[in-house]
Amino acid sequence: MLAYLLRRLLYAVPILIGVNLLTFVLFFVVNSPDDMARMHIGVKRATPEAIERWKAERGYDKPMFVNAEAEGSARFTETIFFDKSLRMFALEFGRADDGRDIGQEIRDRMGPSLAIALPTFLLSLFVSISFALLLVFFRASYLDFWGVVLCVAMMSISSLFYIIGGQWLVSKLWALVPISGYAPGLDAARFLVLPVLISVLAGIGSSARWYRTIFLEEISKDYVRTARAKGLSELAVLFRHVLRNALIPILTGVVVVIPLLFMGSLLVESFFAIPGLGSYTIDAINAQDFAVVRAMVFIGSVLYIVGLILTDLSYTLADPRVRLQ
């Protein structure tokens, strides 16, 4: 087990290096720092001095990969690649364009993101699986048919409309909760109810349908017939046998996203003005703050790899036959 984990962690290193190289190429080779400076300053006001100043302020005035002027190890450390890319492995993200420390900002904004993503995740898992089991319980009936139709219809609605419609109906028409905003501490619940409910609702369609397919695949197997033949009730069959055996495909899809919950949801956070990582990313995208986007890409991929490892670990919990070697 331990050896397996170590190997997986080692395997993560080349992937992270790949991610790093890819983002570096995207951000610095496709467009030179000069291009970015010109765009930030504005093409009309971009004098050579202004560009140089912009680059020097942000540390983009160094060579790309090899600094021929420096001596010793500084040949490689005094470069953009080392400064902007490799330092991320030490979780040093540098400063955003507004001068604030990105690492600090991320730590501050993780809380609100989690406060909204975690309840959403748990609730939608519960609701979708329950709904899917209900459909499977009434399989091949009108309830099942119209349930699936409902799922497909709900899948076909853009998440933008769920949010806009929900805000309009609940906050404006019924005036039950504030339209947007956030408050620290327990007071936050008031602001979080609506975004959580809307995200759950927006996700039910596709996930319930997916779970239903998984359950239906499982329910046609021999052990289910055996369970029924020995006189178990249909509910016991569904919950004790089908659900348990369907866990592996469910975990495959679900556990990967758990670490990514830290990143928040871009849309929901920006619509509801929640100061999380999602709205941070959107603001950075709109302000073309590449340092922040790069940091988020790196964190996202680290969390994704953590998610993959967690998935493997969760298999051993769900299915005692699985051994990690």
Binding site: P14, I15, L16, G18, V19, L22, T23, L26, F27, V30, N31, D35, M36, R38, M39, V43, V152, A153, M155, S156, I157, S158, S159, L160, F161, I164, Q167, W168, K172, I179, L260, M263, L266, L267, S270, T281, I282, I285, N286, Q288, F290, V293, R294, M296, V297, G300, S301, Y304, I305
Partner: protein
């Protein structure tokens, strides 16, 4: 395009990149349809699609959207009217005029068809079928005084004159009846043609075939297609009858007709939904097959590449790539003659970027399937007979993978259309000047919070998108059921 040719046509045709690719895709679809006719298993699979009422109904709706999108893909630059320097003689095309000047504005055939909708812009918001603006304005009365009132629209219900308020109800009802009657006639004509096509070579009497189609007793679900067609024709006829006179779906903040915007959005959605899969398919197929069939270091390399791409959350990779592309486009204005070409380049680049993030799923599926196919007896036999690898891939592997590619094409479509809206909303989607569902929603984002509320732009975007995506989802399900052997 040389100048004389331009005069002859009265316009200069423009082929944008996405136009060319869209028509290439249609041509590919036609060619593969012709080839599928000759192959029994493929014909059987498509017949399975046609037997399902949802499949036929969804296909009918999708064809209607496709027609709108294709008409909107025939682009041209109109000639500017002869300038005054020609002193009146320039109007005669034959008499050696000054070199004609083409407009920098790129229009499409759909723009020409919808010219009344495109050009009749009001001042600002007006509700569907309204004859006044949505907001009070200070209007000068005849005797020089000022009064706060709803100003009359410049074009909406203009044919009714001054007493629009009284005459509107009757006028709309009358035109509605006439439109529905025309729709019924058109439907009848379509039905006669379709029934004759089905009847041809069936060996039955024409009446029997027509009755069977209406009663839903045919093998293919013609009744579902006919019912859908009837609904579509009714909607189209009502729009054709009423849209030139009223703003059927109202106008937006700058007074543009919302129906026009919604129809223009269809092409953007289709381009994103189909071209993304088209441009990524070569990569996915080549790399997936190479990894699965060749194995070894090729497999390792391909797997490494797609794990790296997968590791970056999709939205962030798209955001990063779009931001970079924006810089490239902004710093190279000399590449593009017109604004339309620039936004088209951005649209195509967005397709590529979405493709980069989405090819990994297809490649992984293809790799798995190739691994399975490689060990089958007939492939091993081919190898034992000394057939070369490229020939094996072409003859035995590729044809047996095409169903996965087809399923991916139809399954991805709806997700991509939805993604476009979200990305454009976030500001990393299509060019802001491109009309799309995302830009429509983006402009209308605050309208529900207004007092009084403006609901029609959002409602129009919602209905158009919902119908398109729902039809695509239903069609994709039917196609997957028919082509996926595991779901037989």
């Amino acid at each position: 395009m040389s100048a004389p040719m331009g005069i002859l046509l009265g316009f200069q045709p423009v082929v944008l990149w996405t136009d060319a690719l869209l028509f290439l895709l249609v041509a590919l679809a036609l060619v593969s349809a012709l080839r599928a006719r000759a192959q029994a298993p493929l014909r059987a699979a498509w017949r399975k699609v046609g037997r399902r009422p949802t499949g036929m109904a969804a296909a009918t709706v999708l064809l209607a959207f496709l027609a709108v999108g294709l008409v909107d893909s025939l682009h041209y630059r109109p000639l500017l009217p002869a300038v005054e320097s020609a002193a009146g003689v320039g109007a005669e095309a034959g008499s050696a005029p000054a070199a004609p000047v083409v407009s920098t504005e790129v229009l499409s055939a759909l723009d020409a068809l919808l010219a009344p909708l495109r050009l009749r812009t009001e001042k600002t918001y007006s509700a569907p079928f309204a004859w006044t603006l949505y907001q009070r304005e200070t209007v000068e009365t005849a005797d020089g005084g000022q009064v706060r009132d709803y100003p009359r629209l410049a074009y909406g219900a203009a044919h009714l004159g001054a007493d629009a308020a009284a005459a509107r109800g009757g006028d709309v009802a009358l035109r509605l009846v006439s439109a529905l009657a025309q729709a019924a006639l058109a439907w009848l004509f379509a039905f006669l043609v379709l029934a004759s096509l089905v009847w041809r070579g069936s060996g039955l009497r024409w009446g029997e075939v027509a009755l069977a189609m209406l009663a839903g007793r045919t093998v293919l679900a013609w009744r579902a297609a006919l019912v859908t067609l009837a609904v579509l024709l009714a909607v189209v006829a009502v729009c054709v009858e009423l849209a030139p006179l009223y703003h059927v779906l109202g106008t937006d903040k700058v007074g543009q007709d919302v129906l026009y915007l919604a129809l223009k959005s269809v092409r953007t959605a289709l381009v994103i939904g189909t071209l993304t899969t088209l441009v990524m398919m070569p990569f996915a197929v080549a790399l997936g097959i190479a990894a699965g069939y060749l194995g070894g270091w090729v497999d390792d390399a391909v797997q490494y590449v797609y794990t790296v791409l997968n590791a970056i959350p999709g939205v962030l990779l798209i955001a990063a790539a779009v931001l970079m592309m924006q810089v490239v486009i902004d710093t190279h204005p000399q590449w593009f003659d017109t604004a339309a070409e620039r936004s088209d380049a951005r649209l195509l680049a967005l397709c590529f970027i979405l493709g980069i993030t989405s090819w990994t799923g297809l490649a992984r599926l293809l790799r798995g399937e190739t691994l399975k196919l490689r060990e089958l007896e007939y492939v091993q036999a081919a190898r034992a007979f000394g057939v070369r690898t490229p020939a094996i891939l072409r003859r035995h592997i590729l044809p047996n993978l095409m169903h996965i590619v087809l399923i991916a094409l139809v399954m991805d479509f709806s997700g991509l259309v939805l993604a476009e809206a979200v990305l454009s909303y976030v500001g990393i989607g299509v060019d802001p000047s491109t009309i799309s569902f995302g830009t429509m929603i983006n402009m209308a984002r605050a309208e529900l919070a207004r007092e009084p509320m403006v609901w029609w732009s959002l409602a129009a975007a919602f209905v158009f998108m919902f119908v398109l995506v729902l039809a695509a989802n239903l069609f994709a399900d039917v196609v997957r059921d028919a082509f996926d052997p595991r779901r037989a």
